[in-house]
């Protein structure tokens, strides 16, 4: 098995509930995402959150993105921040509640401002990132070239294909500089060729930084599990009304993470069956 260490907690959900009046959608959701370190390899984290339709995946997506506040509980993120100690500056971990803007959020329909060209949209995001100050245009050119959208930079969203729109959305959120990338149903409605490209793209993103963490909310269990290191299953149990996290499956322990030859693997197929049983 590939050697790895699970280090600091990067994101933690503690007792998260979401209710509208008497009706509870989510109940007591607990989970954490840790920094997985593989010696000699720059590798981020890819986590899938799967569940049947109507289990509150989108609601949890909104809570994680900070667009909505939970009725109870908290979602916190930990990030490395520079701190002055004596004469020098060291990086310390700081924990705080997630807020809108902390996460890179890619909506299911890859929404972009219709009145901005691709380049203008990307510039808006790049200007929010202090690390890119003065080099925004250069960063856009680099990402556009890497993600194969250099020829559509002057186009408007309405002139792009679905795949191009998705890449623009991802680049926009990457340029913003967040370590967390939250994707809502990124495989929905894609044909098999595009699906392969998208999974490849997401893996490419996860390899771009040690702290880069992708949280994929999806009902496509096989595709999501194939690129993840951990799968969280959202479902119902006997504990009360609303959905909660019924299972966490560590795919690294089973030797199913960071592999491209999984689809026919018996352990992988058994794991998929296990996930389906939990739904």
């Amino acid at each position: 098995m590939t050697p790895y260490i699970k280090k600091e907690v990067l994101l933690q959900a503690k007792g998260v509930s979401l209710c509208y009046g008497e009706k509870c959608i989510l109940r007591d959701v607990h989970f954490s995402i840790r920094d997985i370190v593989r010696p000699g390899i720059q590798q981020g984290q890819v986590v899938s959150l799967v569940g049947r339709s109507g289990m509150g995946k989108t609601q949890l997506f909104r809570l994680l993105s900070g667009l909505q506040k939970p009725t109870a509980g908290s979602i916190t993120i930990r990030e490395r921040k520079p701190a002055e100690v004596g004469d020098g500056v060291i990086e310390v971990w700081r924990e705080r509640p997630v807020q809108a803007g902390d996460m890179g959020v890619i909506f299911q329909n890859y929404y972009q401002f219709g009145w901005r060209t691709v380049k203008q949209s990307l510039l808006l995001a790049a200007r929010r990132n202090p690390a890119l100050a003065g080099t925004e245009e250069e960063a856009i050119r680099e990402y556009a070239s890497r993600f194969d959208i250099a020829d559509v930079l002057q186009h408007y969203p309405g002139q792009l294909s679905g795949g191009q729109q998705q890449r623009v959305s991802i680049i926009q959120q990457l340029l913003k500089g967040s370590n967390f990338l939250l994707l809502d149903e990124p495989f929905s409605g894609l044909d098999i060729c595009v699906l392969e490209k998208v999974t490849e793209l997401l893996l490419q993103v996860s390899l771009s930084d040690e702290l880069k963490t992708l949280i994929i909310v999806s009902h496509d269990i096989a595709t999501a599990a194939a690129i993840s290191d951990t799968v969280f299953i959202l479902g119902r149990d006997a504990g009360g009304e609303g959905s909660t996290l019924v299972r966490e499956i560590d795919l690294i322990e089973r030797g199913l993470a960071w592999r491209s030859d999984l689809r026919e693997d018996k352990v992988f197929l058994d794991t998929l069956a296990e996930i389906k049983d939990c739904l």
Partner: protein, 236 residues
Amino acid sequence: MITAQVLFALLIWQLSPGGLIPGPLRVLEALGNLVSGRLLYDSLLTSLILTFKALVYSLVLTLLFSYLSVLPFFRPVAEFIVKCRYLTLTGLIFIFTLLTRDGGALKLSLLVFGIVPFFTTSFLAVILRTPAQEFELCQTLGYSRWETLYEVIVIGKADQVFEVVRQNFAIAWMMITMVEGLNMSEGGIGTLLIKYNKYNDLPHVLALQVLIFGLGLCFDYGLGQLRRWLFAYTKI
């Protein structure tokens, strides 16, 4: 096909028993008479200047109140302006006369008062139709409330402002003839229309109506083209 339909309608008009209503040939003759004189051009210029002034003032006020309406404090003000569509100008003429210094200002203020509620109604509808995702995208990019307002409403809806003006220009154009009748010393097509009406000169009245109608259509087309030229993405 449209040309054929128009010609057919004109033919029926010409052949129908007229009585007091003049036929198209007499109207055409009156139109020629108007076009050959200077009075029409002076009147048109006066009306156009007044209309454009009123449009500019109305647009500024509409945008101000519409943008501010996203703040809870200003929401009732914007809603009150929308309801002012049901106020008739005729009952307010005396109050506006007291509030303004001359006939020109009276006409302008009446026009602005008449236009702003319609502009505001349309533009508020545009703002209310804004998809939540536009605001949420701003939030995910870490925008403040003011930055979101600027991006989504000011920049994002700039093309819609043109559409609102285009759709409501007819109201301004319709009211110009009414308010010009209040202060006839400055002229204008409204004054001209009242003058011809007074002497029952129906061929000239109808000729003027044709001109007013044609100009309205030209503005409608021109504003549509301007919108497409200024905001290329509206063509997609």
